[in-house]
Symmetry: C2
């Protein structure tokens, strides 16, 4: 087993992208246009120094910013922003000896205005697909990057507050504000499934997709498309000859550019928790 929490988190990023087939995502056997497997490999390697900072106890926002900067040192653009947003507090909780819903909630609830400022700075590092902010929250639009920091500071908004604002439409933010329920559940499924860890990762991806419409797909392509993807996942979970059918569907969604990135983020978090709980690759 990898010795450090940061190393395990990096391995989780690698296992996530290698899990295959995953409908619509880059995986061991599929690339998107301009966003390829090797970009995820480089993103994972680059993110490690930020993950080490999380393990060492540096502020969550600063550790996340450093992880994103390292991740972005490749040509594919945003590879693992959402994954890191989940992994950074999970690594901190693990380093503190309490990788539980309560433990990670304690970590995220303790975030500060300065953490929020670093979170906003991270949007200047890499293009992240996000929705319009809620009504009346234009000042807090993350797309403003560091320009939004004066408003955040004036209003005393913490990083946890930012996530609370987004939790209705973004399932990564929803993990933050609800004790990371789907991350922990995915870890349990990965630990109890059969096959190789990459097979179990792919199965967990399909199960996560079937649970809730992917919020990145909903933002990029509309809720109807996100629900169609969810229905497809549910049908495939029940089918015979599952692997062949899932492979075909994975290729189809990749070709259509329907990329459930939020589901991949939660899978990475689940793989990380599984590794911390003794999953041996």
């Amino acid at each position: 087993m990898i010795r450090t929490h940061a190393g395990r988190a990096e391995l989780a990023l690698l296992l996530e992208v290698a899990s295959t087939p995953t409908l619509g995502n880059v995986d061991r056997h599929r690339d998107l246009d301009g966003l390829r497997f090797e970009h995820f490999l480089a993103g994972a390697v680059g993110a490690r120094r930020g993950l080490r900072r999380a393990e060492a106890g540096e502020p969550i926002g600063r550790a996340f910013l450093r992880a994103v900067e390292g991740m972005a040192d490749q040509r594919g653009g945003n590879t693992q922003f959402g994954c890191l947003l989940l992994l950074v507090p999970l690594v901190r909780a693990a380093a503190a000896g309490s990788l539980t819903a309560d433990g990670v909630t304690e970590v995220v609830a303790a975030t500060t205005v300065e953490d929020a400022a670093d979170f906003y700075r991270s949007f200047d590092v890499v293009d992240v697909y996000v929705d319009d902010p809620p009504d009346g929250a234009d000042d807090l639009d993350v797309r403003r990057g560091a320009d939004a920091i004066p408003s955040i500071e004036a209003d005393g908004i913490t990083m946890f507050d930012v996530m609370s604002l987004a939790a209705g439409t973004d399932d990564v933010a929803r993990e933050w504000t609800n004790g990371f329920p789907r991350s922990f559940e995915a870890a349990d499924r990965i630990r109890t499934g059969s096959g190789t860890v990459l097979d179990r990762g792919a199965r967990a991806h399909l199960e996560l997709l079937g649970q809730r419409p992917d919020t990145l797909v909903a933002k990029e392509h509309g809720m109807e498309t996100a629900k169609r993807l969810q229905r497809t996942a549910r049908r495939l979970l029940e089918g015979d000859d599952r692997r062949t059918a899932v492979d075909a569907a994975a290729t189809e969604f990749v070709a259509a550019g329907i990329n459930p990135g939020t589901t991949a983020d939660i899978l990475a978090a689940g793989l990380y928790i599984a590794l911390e709980r003794g999953e041996a690759v």
Copy 2:
């Protein structure tokens, strides 16, 4: 670009195993029995702390031993022993600002008896397929692991001396004693080729295979099999519809258990040098 030499070396390990198709080796699309893609991912992540030691200037033997210990923290067994034997001195040379034939030769020529002792200790960490030692050198059989250390110390054998003894039958050792010629040449080919970095890695693998019979295959299956693999590589380099033919041959050699590990080792070294020279993933 990844910021540290150790990080680039880890990325080189990941790009090596992801390069596809590579005849007979685990690659993005192929596993061997019991030795799968995810074992290489975990091996690369685990090796990083030893690679960091090499970057920081710790003795070559000790850094290598730590890298192998980290690499071995997975269930596949020996994944990247030979790769690390090349990467550790290359990382040191890069950290010293002289990643050249002369620079790395200076590093390996300066190895000591204590480096040799740590090298022998590394054979106790993981099973490595090696040949019988040369006549009269039974005391130095690496398969004896740490038990051979008294003989090494009595004879004043350095790690470079050990490689010199093996250079006639092991092309990783031959890199050590000849200025890493094929590693640097592979880097040049990777830098000047076309396609994605994984395509160029696969092409470099085929070119390396065509140059010389793989010494691991020669040890495991005999020189005739190694030469047959070499001839196959040469034929494929000249063929039309290359990718399809190489894919078929890759699957065939994997199925036959003919695994040119030495060639993969040199490819990893070439990828590392290419990354140091500005290859941007």
